[in-house]
């Protein structure tokens, strides 16, 4: 299982801060597709993904125990 952290609009949309998924072995791209289909997440194209607090590309393969975070466009400062 991996843990998916949600922030900002995604947390508001789903109503919780984190979710669990059995998606070890899949790529970040595949995770995004699952999220689009199952949870009607829009705007995933402009969303970055972090694994264990580092930005990764769509090709990155997800491993057991990873902490994944969806990072919508940031607006700090």
């Amino acid at each position: 299982m991996i843990k998916l952290l949600l922030f900002a609009q995604f947390r508001d949309q789903i109503g919780k801060q984190e979710m669990q998924f059995p998606i070890e072995g899949k790529t970040v791209k595949e995770l995004k597709e699952i999220l689009k289909e199952s949870y009607s997440f829009d705007e995933l194209d402009s969303v970055m993904v972090a694994i264990n607090e580092e930005f990764v590309t769509d090709q990155e393969i997800i491993r057991e125990g990873d902490i994944i975070a969806l990072i919508p466009p940031v607006s700090g400062g």
């Binding site: 900002a8 508001d12 940031v74």
Partner: protein, 154 residues
Amino acid sequence: MNYQITKDPIKIENVVQKVVQREAGAITTFIGTVRELTHGRRTLYLEYEAYESMALKKLEQIGKEIAEKWPDTKTAITHRIGRLEITDIAVVIAVSTPHRAESYEANRYAIERIKEIVPIWKKEHWEDGEEWVGNQLGTREYTDGKPGEEDLHD
């Protein structure tokens, strides 16, 4: 502790104190405050949220990037989260350098990078609604999923 995410009001002097050097004569700060009007729309208050552990890492990374580009530079950044009212301070960036030109450049670099890579988000609350503010640098996709330094711009 040069990089902090806090729920409390930020004291500018505290952030500046972290970068004072006997060898450096120039310190610049950038202080981001909550503006009432954005594109003519009146903000009532803001809410800031962070992916705290990663945000701290990314602030540290920015400090390292600055130290590489401008040697003998010290950087400190404190970002506030939670509910902020108009004119409240959201972020303070302090940079000290031996010479002043670099201090302005390095400081500017820090705020641009924060707006690129630090996982902090703000939600604007207006009289008639609320919204998570997207990338203020303009909508764009990161083709490889990562914002690079070449994405830096005004």
